[in-house]
Symmetry: C2
Subunit: 152 residues, 2 copies
DNA sequence: GGTGAAATCTACCTAGG
DNA sequence: CCTAGGTAGATTTCACC
């Protein structure tokens, strides 16, 4: 899809604050409100913008513990991967999961209310899975840079 | 802050789609549009909702390579940490950074256009920093579970 | 790039527990 | 007294010019 410098700037603005009016966007982009709105529609229709989400403060809603868990699989059979994917999909505390190169097979991002809940998740959900060989939890002590916009 | 079951459900809905009207929210919550809107305002004012962001499709905007980089520091002096924080803040390809327990000191989330750009970032930005001892890049082969809503 | 109709938000007001 | 629902003015979006 064709995307010029103005579109990049627009995406950057909308990642920071999606509730700006077309008029406000137009001022930043040096564009008329109608053109700014039209460009936004174009980016939505093209799928570059897949949706809009509220940013929720994890601490404020009682999710005080954040962790990254590296998962090593015992077997790499296709059905082992599939059943693990189902487990991941069914566990709400896992907010993201990636298939990685290198050392570990998967990396899971976790949000829990407390350390006890994190330990329960590891001991009673992850480790009991038949194809999980080993997990390595790393707790987030602080967020040095908050989840930010994509570099455009 | 006081948060009941309805507020949790509202946060869940707004994380999935922030552009729903108060009427649509009210239907899901079995509430009148005015009450749904009022609750949303309350959650914003209380800081539970810190803002709204457009979800941008990384692949679609040409950011085809995603990676997680574990950073091991040579020194743990306060000013080493501070200058590293400045480096992280100034690097747009680093979209998130966490201070971790365990093995590595920091975990960085990276978005790049290609592998060459990722290698440049490691070789020319991260490793030259005086207090960085070692980095370990792990490339994301696939996203098993997309960045999802917090478990409420 | 501008304009007007339609939809939506929000502040205020009223009713009920 | 606090929480829920309804109504009207003001803003914003979107299709058309």
């Amino acid at each position: 899809m064709a995307m010029d410098k103005t579109d990049s700037a627009l995406l950057r603005l909308l990642q920071q604050d999606a509730n700006q009016t077309a008029e406000s966007l137009g001022q930043h982009l040096r564009l008329s409100p109608s053109q700014a709105g039209r460009r936004r529609q174009r980016l939505e229709a093209a799928g570059l913008i897949s949706g809009y989400a509220a940013r929720v403060d994890a601490e404020a809603v009682g999710l005080g513990v954040q962790a990254m868990i590296q998962v090593h699989m015992a077997a790499h059979a296709p059905d082992a991967a599939q059943s693990f994917a189902a487990l991941v999909a069914a566990t709400p505390e896992i907010t993201s999961a990636w298939v990685m190169t290198g050392d570990a097979d998967y990396l899971l991002r976790i949000f829990c209310t407390d350390l006890a809940a994190l330990n329960r998740l590891v001991q009673e959900v992850l480790l009991p899975h038949s194809s999980v060989a080993r997990v390595q939890s790393q707790i987030v002590m602080a967020q040095l840079k908050p989840d930010g916009p994509l570099p455009l």
